[in-house]
Symmetry: C2
Subunit: 137 residues, 2 copies
Amino acid sequence: MKLTHIEHIGIAVKNLDESIRFYEDVLGLACYAVEEVKDQKVKTAFFKLGDTKIELLESTDPGGPIGKFIEKKGEGVHHLAFAVDGIEKALVTLQEKGIQLVDQQPRKGAEGLDIAFLHPKSTGGVLTELCEDKNKS
Amino acid sequence: MKLTHIEHIGIAVKNLDESIRFYEDVLGLACYAVEEVKDQKVKTAFFKLGDTKIELLESTDPGGPIGKFIEKKGEGVHHLAFAVDGIEKALVTLQEKGIQLVDQQPRKGAEGLDIAFLHPKSTGGVLTELCEDKNKS
């Protein structure tokens, strides 16, 4: 499996506008997109720094994954996403190695990427995502 | 303040050897250093991916910061570290903006970097570190 870089870091926040202000006014980054991902029950905001994006995630529903995460653990880093060449083959390899997958097949995520999540039980507690941007290749 | 890239992602793990195996055997990354940081009561392992390092942190003392983090939140991402040009000036700017600092002045961290932590109360729940590698500049 060939990981190329950390595609993004997903951060669960209570209030997207307040958090955008922190990353813009304090850290000096520029929010370049805000996008609602309805099936994940989140509103997201994106920043870019070097190779890696920061994706802030505000829940639009307390019963959604980010709402539940914040209730259990508070605000903080929710997942790490690695860019991979050949996501379908990578998922097969991971299954052969006994890694539990949340997504058996890639699905479309934010920004049109092909994405799949691995289960945190198999990854030392870190919810881990693989991404491939097929528009680039 | 000029952030240049995400220097590293610190991940709290229960068992360093098991986690190293996951990042090496499953994700295909290479551990290039293991280092004990006695004053932080941790043993660390480093991986590099693009611009960014992954720093696994195993507590050497249940009363240390990583031991307490795992007791409260479980294994997972513990902190994000941003590379900055001019760490002293950045800390002054942050204080002027009302950000609570853990370290008023930079101190030496792993790999000889100058580092300082910002308090998660001021950063939306994410323990945030600034780093500068003065050997490079």
